[in-house]
Amino acid sequence: MINLLTIPFFLCLLFLQKPVLSNIKDEISIKMIVNNCASCHLENNHSDLIPSFFEIEKEVFIKQMIDFQTINDDSIMHRITKVLNLEDIRALADYYYEKK
């Protein structure tokens, strides 16, 4: 007989294995995510207080996003990136830098 407690345990495992915004190409249009980034990072006319990622190279962008995700300092960028996985970050990079 299956212990009822094991069901929520395995459900939690499933959830943890899959970052929430993963498979964005299939599930969520990359455009929908980018629209939220644009609240602070406009391509043109952005604030001088917020770094522009349009001025850096694609690989630097990817590295910085991974760093934000990895360094658990509760900073705003950590909170934003922690729901992304590597596939998400690469999809964002493709969107921004292939558009250039």
């Binding site: 969520i28 609240s39 604030s47 001088d48 207080l49 509760d74 900073s75």
Partner: protein
């Protein structure tokens, strides 16, 4: 008259109405020779963001924006005016005519919307028809919830829950004498900008402390908790020790009566509090624009398209809607507006509706150099009927002064960007 400054005169109105009337019966999707007419009501963060996003399609749609006021004073950063370290004019914006030169801006007051006839009636008896409508009119107040407090008493005791009245609140704070008691009544959920009552209290404290005054701030709350509570309590303890008292609803904090003559507030447990300055932030509801509408406090929307449940071809974003787990904030309105615009465009062009994802961050000032934030991603649930949070996170409670100051820069940067994006 400049092209982008449209004051509908009768001739133009009849012409516009006639063209749309002739086109309407044949409208299905978008024909090659037909330009759908999209009207947006409200030029704040919700309507303005929708406009900024829809403008990309101005070569395919005729876009109108209806706004009552020529100038808009932002709610974000209005408490900084109360704190005495920001000028009200720094929060004043108008839609940039150069940015929106392909949009028809109409400055007029909406009397009501007849969604069955797809017509907007204005207070001056002019009208405007539409094919698709987006409304973002903001909030109204529940004037009957506190005995003795109404629109009339609000004239001398303003709630200041809009950007424009921040200077009036500042003047009242500036007129306080040493050893004053300030009473702040915080509303019940849902209301515009959940952390803002506590930010306002913090910045009133900053203002008074800066001028070397002793004071007591008593927050009488209609709730048993509030957003970023631990962060606020820590900030008050660090910056303004022994100056704050927060009384929750279960401790008798819910205000039920204003005794205007005696400058007192009475709570539901019968406790009476007397103060030199009283700031009541009333309970809130949608601003109603519709001819035939239900009595719900908030507009109910499809969370993927933001189309209203009971008004076809009308979409709504911002503080006026029930947005599920999303708080009522400028950031939320901006995020919702982009989804609304994207999927409204998809509806009009008969394209696939995209799955939305939303983000919100609320920054709060405890002093000019002390900011913390709360943020969350949001998605639509599997039943496609509610926006749900993917988990809320806050600034670290143990952040040092430098980190609090970094959030000051982030907050200012966000404000600069969003106001540029919306107003141009």
């Amino acid at each position: 008259m400049k092209k982008n400054k449209i004051n509908l005169n009768k001739r133009r109105f009849i012409k516009t109405l006639g063209i749309s009337f002739l086109s309407f019966p044949f409208l299905k999707g978008v024909r090659a020779n037909y330009r759908p007419k999209v009207v947006i009501i409200g030029g704040g963060f919700g309507g303005g963001s929708c406009l900024a996003h829809l403008q990309k399609f101005s070569n395919q749609f005729d876009i109108f924006l209806v706004e009552k006021n020529k100038y808009y004073y932002t709610c974000p950063y209005s408490n900084s005016v109360v704190g005495g370290f920001r000028s009200l004019k720094d929060n004043k914006f108008s839609l940039n005519n150069l940015k929106y030169n392909d949009v028809k801006l109409i400055y007029n007051e909406v009397k009501f919307i007849d969604s069955e006839k797809k017509i907007i009636k204005f207070s001056n008896n002019e009208s405007l028809n539409y094919d698709w409508l987006v409304v973002s009119p903001g909030i109204d107040f529940k004037w009957d919830d506190i005995e003795g407090y109404n629109i009339e008493t609000n004239k001398s005791l303003p709630h200041g829950w809009n950007g424009a009245d921040a200077k009036i609140i500042l003047d009242k704070v500036n007129s306080l004498e040493d050893n004053s008691t300030i009473l702040l009544s915080a509303p019940d959920y849902p209301y515009r900008c959940p952390p803002a009552p506590y930010e306002r209290a913090s910045l009133i404290a900053y203002n008074l402390k800066k001028r070397g005054m002793r004071f007591k701030i008593i927050i009488l709350d209609s709730k048993d908790s509030f957003t970023k509570k631990k962060l606020f309590l820590k900030a008050w303890n660090e910056l303004y020790p022994d100056s704050f008292e927060w009384i929750s609803r279960s401790q008798g904090g819910k205000v039920t009566k204003l005794d205007y003559k005696n400058k007192s507030l009475i709570t539901e447990t019968g406790q009476k509090f007397k103060g030199e300055f009283i700031n009541i932030i009333p309970n809130q509801k949608k601003k109603n624009l519709f001819l035939n509408d239900n009595d719900n406090d908030w507009l109910e929307v499809n969370p993927s398209t933001f189309e209203l449940r009971n008004h076809k071809s009308v979409h709504a974003v911002g503080d006026c809607i029930n947005a599920g787990d999303m708080p009522k904030s400028a950031f939320s309105a901006n995020s919702q507006a982009k989804v609304c615009a994207e999927n409204l465009k998809n509806i009009i062009l008969d394209k696939e509706i995209l799955n939305p994802v939303f983000f919100n961050t609320c920054y709060s000032f405890a002093s000019p150099n002390y900011v913390f934030s709360i943020s969350s991603w949001y998605r639509v649930n599997k039943f496609d009927d509610k926006i749900v949070s993917l988990g809320t996170t806050e600034s670290n409670i143990n952040d040092n002064k430098l980190q609090r100051n970094v959030e000051v820069e982030h907050s200012k940067g966000w404000y600069q960007t969003i106001t540029k994006e919306v107003f141009g």
